[in-house]
């Protein structure tokens, strides 16, 4: 093998290290990146800042929401989504069971929490409301910051816009401990069930696409492998993520259980060549096995990972459709966030998808 020169890359991600970023950690741990001659460091920060970093070519890659790409392009930032990371839009509305909320229409007149009137949760909410012939004025929208679980459980709001892979779990946990308004359970209206919107994707800029397509290709290939491995072997992904995400729940027992699960899953994948459904079933099986051995506290972040995998899993990873981009743009236009014409097809590309 020829010795390639190593390329240093800083990869931008939002928020803080989190188990939801497991595929990134898997790609790093399994040397998918270094084998491709990429020396990648991860940087976390504010999403808008990240977009500007990529737009100015200070960074070449980042994990950014699709609607951010559209809005940023509308304001002259040459960013392009090249790999759709989430296949389902991760936002939804969590509501308590048995409190008279059966369908989104029942939200009318109720107090609904939201981090703020911006970002993916707001866009998702509007899409969901639009799809149900509601408007923002029909509900009492309350800006509560990223405190949904807390505010919801003290009854500050009757429903809340959340990331469906995370907050409902936290709330469920509290319900089980009897710390949540005496609710018996929660349900979720998932935006993805009502509207096909693009969500997080790997984003680069036009300059890199034009001048260094090989780099884009190499990067995507490595991330895709990480994503694939995470979907197929969540126990392994969780273990690898624990090296990057501080404070991820972990005990010696849990670790050895995961290690055992990871290696048996590897054998299963090798020998049974299972299809998507088989693998999904194996994940369910693993979860119920673990639930028998460990209490909910320890499992919570692992369940977040499994929930997130459901958002990733697809027949063809990374692919984006013009329809979903158009749908997203339509929602943004209805909110008057996007005005005027924008060439939606320029916002994304499937050209670099690995085989």
């Amino acid at each position: 093998q020829e010795t390639k020169s190593v390329v240093d890359q800083t990869f931008f991600m939002t928020f803080v290290p989190n188990v939801q970023f497991a595929p990134i950690y898997v790609a790093l741990e399994k040397d998918y990146l270094s084998n491709a001659g990429l020396n990648v460091t991860i940087e976390h920060g504010d999403e808008n800042v990240g977009v500007d970093l990529i737009a100015t070519n200070q960074r070449q890659f980042g994990l950014i929401s699709g609607e951010e790409v559209l809005k940023a392009r509308a304001q002259g930032r040459p960013v392009v989504s090249v790999y759709e990371w989430f296949q389902r839009y991760p936002v939804g509305i969590v509501y308590p069971l048995g409190q008279g909320i059966e369908s989104p229409a029942d939200l009318a007149g109720r107090k609904v929490g939201i981090p703020g009137r911006f970002g993916a949760s707001y866009n998702g909410l509007i899409a969901l409301l639009n799809a149900n012939n509601l408007t923002e004025q029909d509900i009492q929208l309350e800006a509560i910051g990223f405190n949904a679980a807390d505010v919801f459980c003290v009854g500050g709001v009757q429903a809340s816009v959340v990331y469906i892979n995370n907050e409902p779990l936290q709330i469920q946990n509290r319900i089980e401990q009897g710390e949540c308004q005496g609710y018996s359970g929660v349900g979720v209206f998932s935006v993805a069930d009502y509207a096909d919107m693009v969500s997080n994707g790997l984003v680069t800029n036009e300059e890199t696409i034009a001048n260094n397509p090989a780099l884009v290709q190499a990067m995507l290939t490595a991330w895709d492998l990480g994503l694939k491995d995470s979907i197929q072997n969540p126990a392994e992904a969780y273990l690898m993520a624990s090296a990057y995400v501080e404070n991820l729940p972990m005990t010696d027992d849990f670790r050895s259980a995961l290690e055992a699960a990871a290696s048996s899953q590897a054998i299963f994948l090798e020998e049974a060549s299972p299809d998507r459904a088989d693998i999904a079933a194996s994940r369910q099986q693993l979860l119920s096995d673990l639930e028998n051995q460990f209490d909910a506290e320890i499992l919570v972040q692992f369940r977040v990972l499994l929930n997130t995998i459901d958002l990733w899993d697809a027949d063809q990873r990374g692919v984006a459709t013009l329809e979903s981009w158009e749908a997203t743009a339509a929602v943004l236009r209805s909110m008057e966030v996007l005005t005027g014409d924008i060439d939606v097809s320029g916002a994304f590309s499937n050209a670099f998808l690995p085989e």
Partner: protein, 280 residues
């Protein structure tokens, strides 16, 4: 005569000069800040014209102006200004009154400082995000949370400056008031407040701008209106000109508040402009 220039300022006490003060000069001085603003505008224009920084990071002044006119005409800006400034004034009022009251008690009963300092410093140094959930739960996303964040940030500098000011009251004057059997209230209003005024006024000027920051921080945590909200909104839409409009509006408002404080200081320290202050 080339006298050595004394270290003075318009607001400070000056060596009474036997030469008439050049009043035209004073008038001209009023324009100096505007010259700075002008220079900044020119530099800004130059940066955007020479394309030194991408326009989506720093938009052209003209674009910002257009945006400003737009939001001024449709009334949006005014709504957000009101949503921010209400809590700013309330926060200033609450923060300053509490700080001065507590500062007085602390200067008077040093033991109180020992008792309260752990709490006060905890309050001061705890990042707002840490108690954001409590704020939102207890006070909602209306103006109350903003008033509290604003009052909190104002409180500490004002408290310390109150204590520093009160402790600097000349003991000779304190003895005078004691010998005249002044009541604590008389001592407070006739001696302590005027004597601490220079430091109190410095605290007021600090507070004036901090209060704005505090309210904006409150708006970042949860709000439905206000300039901080507008910044977040514009940022989420990558509408840099609107970000600039909101930020510049904040700057102007802070500057106005500061000028108000500086004017109060000028009025309150009138006596420093009379002759030299030589404690005799």
């Amino acid at each position: 005569m080339a006298q050595e220039k004394p270290l003075t300022s318009a607001i400070s006490y000056t060596v009474a000069k036997p030469v008439p003060s050049w009043h035209l000069g004073l008038v001209l001085r009023r324009f100096v800040p505007w010259i700075t603003v002008l220079v900044v505008l020119i530099v800004w224009q130059a940066i955007t014209m020479l394309q030194l920084i991408q326009p989506f990071l720093i938009p052209a002044p003209g674009d910002v102006l257009n945006e400003a006119i737009l939001v001024l005409q449709n009334g949006t800006l005014w709504v957000h200004i009101q949503a921010t400034m209400g809590p700013v004034f309330a926060g200033l009022g609450v923060g300053i009154s509490l700080a001065v009251a507590l500062g007085y008690c602390i200067a008077r009963f040093p033991l109180l400082e020992d008792i309260l300092s752990p709490l006060i410093i905890a309050l001061q140094s705890t990042p707002v995000v840490a108690y954001a959930p409590l704020l939102v739960i207890w006070f909602g996303s209306g103006p109350n949370s903003k008033i509290i964040t604003s009052a909190l940030i104002v409180f500490f500098p004002m408290l310390l400056n109150t204590v520093a000011g009160l402790r600097n009251v000349p003991p000779g004057l304190r003895d005078l008031m004691r010998s005249l059997r002044a009541t604590p209230w008389q001592t407070f209003t006739r001696l302590e407040v005027p004597a601490a005024m220079p430091v109190l006024m410095s605290g007021l000027k600090i507070s004036a701008t901090l209060a704005v920051i505090g309210a904006v921080v409150g708006e970042f945590i949860s709000a439905n209106a206000g300039l901080g909200f507008l910044i977040n909104l514009a940022r989420s839409q990558y509408d840099t000109p609107l970000v600039f409009v909101a930020v510049l509006t904040l700057t102007v408002l802070a500057r106005l508040l500061y000028s108000l404080a500086a004017w109060l200081e000028y009025r309150a320290l009138y006596w420093q402009r009379h002759g030299r202050y030589l404690p005799k």
